[in-house]
Amino acid sequence: MAEMTYLEAIRQGLAEEMARDERVYAIGEDIGAYGGAFKVTEGLLERFGAERVIGTPISETAIIGAAIGSAYLGMRPVAELQFIDFVACCFNILTNFAAKSRYRWGAGVPMVVRGPCGGGVSGGPFHSANPEAHFLHTPGLKIVEPSTAYDAKGLIKAAIRDDDPVLFLEHKFLYRRVKDEVPDADYVVPIGQAVVRRPGDDVTVVTFGAMTYTALEAAEQLAQRDVEVEVIDLRTLSPLDHETVLQSVAKTNKVVVLHEAQRTGGIGAEIAAAITERGFEHLDAPPVRLASLDTPVPYNPGLEAAFRPGVEQIVAAVGQLVEY
């Protein structure tokens, strides 16, 4: 076991997969000598050479296109988008080419598209996105977003070994702030499995990514008021692990769905709908959604704090549910 950051865990997972399987390679902007904008790929060029750590022009569609074409030839590309916001630039080739390929022709695209998502760092309107909802609605794509170093390494390995395209969302707020124990031995965290981060009997909070820590902090405060919150970290956003959520709701009968992306049409709507449809008889109160405001992500720290849900809102929402 070794303690490492979320960022180091992604790097180690990627490097181990590149060492294990010569078909795995990295491609993206500034990922070579510079090691990537956040240094996730630092040292990979020196270790694996320019043939397998390919720096590209500022051309997201070319990056994904190259990944798709090479995947058809048996490679396992790991494409970096410098900020996940830039996925908008390659939306077409990702959703129409990569995601539909297997359904149309039976030709799988074993590709990972990874990049930093999320706010809380004053990134502003173009460096803070949480784009999962756009891709939740895209059959053929899987989406994961780890919250711990352990999961980051286990999920990047699972994503690379997966035979379908996986969008790997790395919350940039966690890159260097989160540090935990990561085993030395090879392991994967299976795609499609949520995990209970904190058990509790009173209210379920379903979340993922950096909001997991916000939820845990709120749960800690609520525990002092004898309210026991169960915090579920989804880890995989598509396909969703509805079973883990429903099991928890069957126990607590009350649920908050919490995410950092904007509220309307967000993943929380899908989760709340699924709970209502499949677990209605377990509910003692309407599911509550906590999400960001329906605006672009603002730059100023005060504005951004007002934009996103925080500990206070979670404590208040859970408090209201308890009283319901």
Partner: protein
């Protein structure tokens, strides 16, 4: 920057090769004519996109590839798929949305792929958003290089498609990475109803490549041997590690965007002028004039091609539709949806017995 060569690559084509080129172009037109009948009979489920007038450039460009190379055709490049050995029945089943089509009824016309694990021709199908095949085929070239395969990737783009961002990103990436990519850029005068003059302010479509430092030349797209020569030079450059090339072909879409299109925006004199330059008729005349074949020889090929197209259409027509309960399968791995496309050899290839463009030591063995 046109490449000058003392001799034309087509000088190396044998009589059978030249007849095979004719056969492929003829077969392409016969398949589409049969499809037009099926369309009028309401047996084609979606639209029908003819390559009338462009069969020659599709066939002649793909003929410059080796058999195991990769090609990505657009909807008007049926000829390229026929050259690469796609069985005509597969195309008919696609248009008629049959359950045994290469996409099992899920996608239309030439939207299908054939990507064998090792060996055999690679075909990558298009999506309807133009331009994406350029970066994807650059990626096929990249993947081939990483896998140690001396493979060339060829794809097509129309005058309209060259206006997309994906085209430019793909071209630039291929140039920077020196990838084995050949792009055939077809100036067929209209993108749906939009004339080339509203598509670009360049005199020639091949000038698009200039911005990326990619070698390019413009050829008469209705002269099959000229297209073959330019394509062959491009393929050889790619094969030898000299990076991508673009071949601009000057041609004409002789039908509307699809069969439903009344072509009101196209001028009659323009169509008449191009009709006189029909690529198959010209190549036919060339074969007779140069005494490579007699009218009788070519009439025999015509009859063989027509009979084959009709037999394949009949076989396809008898195929069943997909079972509705297959609709949800195959979105992700594990659902065991692996369609196969049958690869067939032409009678000329059967006779030759060796792959196209085999090294001299292999040829004729």
């Amino acid at each position: 920057m046109p490449t000058s060569t003392a001799t034309r690559p087509s000088d190396d084509l044998t009589r059978d090769d030249r007849l095979e080129l004719y056969y492929f172009a003829r077969l392409t037109r016969d398949i589409e004519e049969r499809l037009a009948v099926l369309y009028r009979q309401n047996k084609v489920v979606g639209g029908l996109y003819r390559s009338l007038g462009q069969e020659g450039e599709s066939v002649a460009s793909a003929y410059a590839l080796a058999e195991d190379d990769a090609v990505a055709a657009l909807i008007r490049n049926l000829g390229s798929l026929i050259v690469q050995g796609i069985r005509p029945r597969a195309v008919f089943t696609q248009y008629m949305a049959k359950g045994t089509s290469p996409t099992r009824g899920r996608d239309l016309n030439l939207h299908f792929s054939h990507i064998p694990d090792a060996g055999g021709p690679i075909v990558v199908g298009p999506i309807s958003m133009l331009g994406d095949l350029v970066p994807v085929m650059a990626g096929v070239g990249l993947g081939a290089r990483m896998r140690g395969r001396a493979l060339v990737a060829m794809t097509y783009i129309g005058d309209g498609g060259t206006s997309t961002g994906a085209f430019h990103e793909g071209m630039n990436f291929a140039a920077v990475q020196k990838l084995p990519l050949v792009v055939i850029a077809e100036d067929n005068k209209y993108a749906y109803s939009t004339p080339v003059s509203q598509q670009m302010a360049l005199a020639r479509i091949d000038q698009r490549a200039e911005a990326y430092g990619i070698p390019h030349e413009m050829v008469d797209g209705n002269d099959m041997l000229a297209v073959y020569d330019a394509s062959r030079r491009a393929v050889e450059r790619a094969r030898h590690g000299d990076g991508p090339s673009l071949v601009g072909v000057d041609t004409m879409r002789m039908r509307g965007h699809a069969e439903h299109d009344d072509m009101r925006y196209m001028s009659k004199p323009l169509l008449d002028a191009w009709k006189a330059r029909d690529p198959i008729a010209r190549y036919h005349a060339h074969l007779v004039e140069t005494e490579i074949a007699t009218e009788t020889d070519l009439a025999e090929i015509d009859a063989m091609s027509r009979a084959y197209a009709e037999a394949e259409a009949d076989l396809a027509e008898a195929e069943p539709p997909p079972e509705p309960d297959t609709v949800a399968a195959g979105v992700f791995a594990g659902d065991h949806f692996q369609p196969t496309v049958e690869i067939v050899y032409s009678p000329f290839r059967e006779k030759r017995g060796t792959p196209r463009h085999a090294p001299a030591s292999e040829a004729g063995s």
